[in-house]
Amino acid sequence: MGLISQNRLLRLFSYVGSRRVQFRPFPVVIKLTARESARLLADLESPPPPNDEMKKALALYKQAIG
């Protein structure tokens, strides 16, 4: 195996595998298609109003948390 034995190599891969990054570090970059970008822009300029479920959730929050 040369400079490193097969067993050590396996242990190394096992270690790297166990340390697999499951949580993406800051900053997370989200790439959008042209269509998505256009839609995001439209929403930024004219955001949709909160729906009834949002309002109900807010009422519940105020009741529970204050």
Partner: protein, 166 residues
């Protein structure tokens, strides 16, 4: 009932079970460490008289969206800052009691505070399954076109609900 930052010395993470192993594991093994390293922030919902038992939790951090073809002079070429709702879970023993709704409002409230102090376009998330996707869509989250589970809500909608200004 209150929503407070996760504190491994107070909150019992080991008994939390939302039915999704990845979300359980994150809370039990990574959330505290990620917060310590300023990588993400986790808040837990607990009863006033039982601070140990975690009823639900959410984890957020910043994300940025590459603007793509957005015309110059409107959003410019700069990436669009978003609050990423990275983890969101309710313990299975208390599901259906509205705790998810309460926690979601807490995310909106924190997004509002951020938007009042720095640039924030909205909240973005990846729903973990079909049920989660339906849950978020019910509250007005919209799907991006790359993946129906990739959802977002503009900050303007949140500010209108909570009565704030960016």
């Amino acid at each position: 009932m209150k929503i407070v930052p996760l504190d491994g010395g107070v909150h019992d993470r080991s008994n939390f079970d939302c039915g999704q192993p990845s979300l359980n594991n994150f809370l039990q093994q990574q959330a505290q460490q990620a917060a310590r390293r300023y990588g993400s922030k986790t808040f837990v919902l607990v009863h006033d008289d039982d601070e140990q038992t975690i009823l639900a939790y959410h984890t957020t951090l910043f994300a940025q969206i590459e603007p793509g073809i957005i015309p110059q002079g409107r959003l410019g070429r700069n990436p669009i800052p978003m609050l990423l709702l990275a983890r969101f879970a309710v313990d299975r023993r208390v599901q259906g009691k509205g705790f998810g709704k309460i926690l979601l409002v807490d995310v909106w409230r924190r997004a509002k505070v951020i938007a009042e102090n720095t640039a924030l376009y909205g909240v973005v998330l990846d729903a973990i399954d079909d049920d989660a996707e339906k849950f978020y869509q019910k509250f007005g989250f919209k799907a991006l076109t790359d993946n129906p589970r990739h959802l977002y809500m503009p900050i303007g909608t949140i500010l209108e609900l909570l009565g704030g200004q960016a």
